[in-house]
Amino acid sequence: MYAQMVKSTGKGVKTREEMSEDERAFQDKIDADTKIEPRDWMPEEYRKTLVRQIGQHAHSEIVGQLPEGNWITRAPTLERKMILLAKVQDEAGHGLYLYAAAETLGVSRDEMTEDLLSGKMKYSSIFNYPTLTWADMGAVGWLVDGAAIMNQVPLQRTSYGPYSRAMIRICKEESFHQRQGYDIMMKMAQGSPEQKRMAQDALNRFWYPSLMMFGPSDADSVHSAQSMAWKIKINTNDELRQKFVDQTVPQAEYLGLSIPDPDLKWNAERGHYDFTEPDWQEFFDVIKGNGPCNTERLGDRTRAWEEGRWVREGLMAHANKRAARIAAE
């Protein structure tokens, strides 16, 4: 999802016999659905995996501001402008909550930011795709937020307390995001021939990248098994992807738009839609930095960070001066 390829650092799930006494007590708490809190004992691998996962999730929210931010100044009505601005602002807020959750694990937000800009930490592949028409604002809300919500709702139950609380707040705020996207799609699909064409084109371009958001199949991954045992991952990537397809197909039908997959069909036996897997080579290319917008996205974030340095330092210097003046009185 927003954290697509998080590798746990361990070598797979330990058996109870292989665990130390601390590890057993830790696993027992998780099995009993007791939340782990910042100062509780935790395996170092659990901490590191969480920092990576929450950090990647936070970076995705921040970079995720950019493709939609691309249209704030071109929104077609005052109301659409406000809705889009409020939504992109929410994403900044969600990034902030998630960074704060990661900070409880002993890593600072500035460190994480520098790791993002140096390429050491990743963000979701989806945000390396361009937003070309206004219908893309609909498609992003409907498909990208739809896929994100699918992953985030179960994560509200994740074992790490601060992460879980951040997800609860995020899910509450996100509830309007997907709906506003679908609302744009409805207007476009019911609009002029050009608007309909934009809507279909947006679906064509965002369908497979949305399916990629769940990450490659991880049914056989030891990393996923460990993350699931720790309840920092709740469902497999394939489960979530299937759920997303099943939910989205009827929504596309309602819009009168066709999913760009000739082999998509209902499988009565499985009770699910059969569908074509995305091109995983493309996915790995994007992750490696070769997506259509990787350079622009990281360039934008780097510029904001570099050009903002004097502001951050200026306000901090003023706060220190004032504190010193007050102390001297």
């Binding site: 921040i62 501001q65 950019l66 931010g69 704030i72 100044t73 071109r74 929104a75 077609p76 009505t77 005052l78 109301e79 659409r80 402008k81 406000m82 601005l85 409020a86 992109v88 602002q89 900044a92 807020g93 990034g95 902030l96 960074y99 206004w134 744009i184 207007k187 609009g191 002029s192 050009e194 608007q195 934008d300 510029r303 904001a304 960070w305 050009e307 903002g308 340095r309 004097w310 502001v311 951050r312 330092e313 200026g314 306000l315 901090m316 210097a317 003023h318 706060a319 001066k321």
Partner: protein, 256 residues
């Protein structure tokens, strides 16, 4: 609203109010996703949201007074440069974060005084809009003033940048206090105060904040004018409109 009022003048006044918030709100929204720190990004988006919300109220009323069947969106998205009535200050480019916040403060300070007076307007609608906007603006001016002070009295670099921002923007401040026949009609109808009469309070407020910010107000600054009368704009406005109005212009008559 009194029937005897000059409707053209009232409409012009409402456009001046609404175009200021529209253009400034648009400028501030350009920051979304690019601010120096997350907390500032979120705060700027709140300011932009308030300003665009105020725009809707001012332009709705302007369209109603005009009585030509146009909507607030029509006014925002289908007028060309010469019909805009915002002051030049708000259409100037964002520049660096310091220039954006300096422009914001110079506008907020004026709006805080203007909106205060408009809450005593003889026109009920104007009074209502001003009441809502004044609450939002009270927070904006506090925040932008704090930031101007923090950056002015911060590091050497931040001080230098803020002084440069003030030097660049100050010649655009005078226009806020120009009075013409439209203003005279508004004063006579009790709708709005004479802009010239706001200057003293403004100078006191701005002087206080600049002193705290250790910044120097330019002496005898030239006054760039023409935005609120519509006789002159900067070249920047046309580019802003190109972006803002593009969809409505390229695909006329669509519902979005």
């Amino acid at each position: 609203m009194a029937d005897t009022i000059d409707r053209t003048a009232l409409q012009q006044f409402l456009l001046r109010m609404g175009d200021n918030t529209l253009i400034l709100g648009h400028r501030v929204s350009e920051w979304c996703g690019h601010a120096p720190v997350l907390e500032e990004d979120i705060a700027l988006a709140n300011t932009a949201l308030d300003l665009i919300g105020q725009t809707q109220l001012w332009l709705d009323y302007a369209a109603e007074v005009e009585g030509a069947g146009r909507s607030a969106d029509d006014l925002a998205f289908l007028r060309d440069v010469w019909d805009f009535r915002n002051v030049l200050l708000v259409e100037l480019p964002n520049g660096d974060f310091g220039q954006t916040l300096m422009r914001q403060f110079l506008y907020d300070a004026w709006a805080s005084i203007m909106l205060g007076r408009l809450q005593k307007s003889a026109d009920e609608r104007v009074r209502e809009i001003a009441e809502k906007a004044a609450k939002e603006n009270a927070y904006h001016v506090e925040r932008s003033a704090d930031t101007v002070v923090g950056l002015g009295d911060g590091t050497e670099e931040s001080h230098r940048r803020m002084q440069a921002a003030l030097d660049y923007l100050y010649p655009y401040v005078g226009e806020l206090f120009e009075s013409d026949a439209t203003d005279a009609a508004m004063v006579e109808a009790g709708v709005a105060p004479d802009p010239a009469g706001l200057r003293e309070d403004y100078d006191a407020l701005v002087g206080r904040v600049m002193a705290d910010a250790t910044l120097r107000l330019p002496e005898k600054a030239y006054v760039h004018r023409g935005g609120r009368s519509g006789t002159m704009h900067t070249e920047h406005l046309g580019h802003l409109l190109c972006t803002m109005q593009w969809l409505q212009r390229a695909y006329p008559g669509c519902r979005w």
